[in-house]
């Protein structure tokens, strides 16, 4: 049996502060057009062969 998948930890104290601050800062970040089109292209590759 493989090692079990660990649960995502509950964030406390400094970890929680850093996490919430990162979310706040992420609101100001946008991906480049190239990154967006790469993600969409890769999505299409797998969508095209998906059988569900």
């Amino acid at each position: 049996m493989a090692k079990p998948i660990k649960e995502t930890p509950v964030l406390k104290g400094k970890d929680a502060k850093v996490f919430l601050n990162n979310i706040k800062e992420n609101k100001l970040v946008v991906h480049s057009k190239e990154e967006i089109s790469k993600i969409k292209e890769n999505f299409s590759k797998l969508s095209a062969i998906a059988q569900f």
Binding site: T8, D15, K17
Partner: protein, 181 residues
């Protein structure tokens, strides 16, 4: 990577798994011994990319959340107050919904073809375009030798406390993608 002749399927409980070897005995063991049990117990769903004779890659995903607490007890209360003000009303404590990549692995014969990144991009786009229940983050329980891969794909660490462990908790903020569209 050319996916001609390959298919992406959702694991069925009665399915016969095709040969797979990602050069990691633990991940191989998860694929052959555990993923069906996770699915039987409704804990995770595994998706498989396969060709006629072999498995190319698999990934197992399940519902997750990122929870936080005790932030207000922190001495830096002013920062907490500022952060709280940026959140929508009614979402000032507790948790955010997430989707977790429990395990993801690529067969050794298909490494170096960006298949891992294609899977990650597929999941990112899937959960912002076809997000049926609400999901703000992708989380992952990442093996130590795959940390660079997840970093390259925009994931960041949830905590420094698991720095010395064999796997680390990381997340990707789907807002980064949804607000860029």
């Amino acid at each position: 990577m050319n996916f001609e002749g390959k298919k992406l399927i959702r694991l069925e409980l009665s399915q016969t798994l095709k040969p797979f070897d990602c050069d990691d005995s633990d991940l191989n063991s998860f694929f052959f011994d555990d993923c069906i049990n996770y699915q039987k117990k409704l804990l995770a769903v595994t998706y498989i990319i396969e060709g006629d004779d072999s498995t190319v890659a698999f990934f197992s995903i399940f519902n997750d959340k990122i929870s936080y607490k005790d932030v207000a007890k922190n001495p830096d209360a002013s920062l907490w107050a500022k952060i709280k003000n940026t959140m929508p009303t009614g979402k000032q404590l507790g948790s955010y919904p997430a989707m977790k990549i429990g395990r993801l692995a690529v067969d050794k014969n298909h490494k170096g073809q960006q298949i891992g990144t294609i899977i990650i991009d597929y999941l990112k786009n899937l959960f912002i375009t076809n997000n049926r229940t609400g999901c703000k983050f992708i989380t992952v329980d990442a093996y130590s030798d795959s940390l660079g891969f997840y970093e390259k794909n925009g994931f960041v660490y949830l905590t420094e406390k698991d720095k010395e462990r064999d796997t680390r908790a990381m997340y990707y903020d789907l807002s980064l993608l949804s607000q860029s569209n």
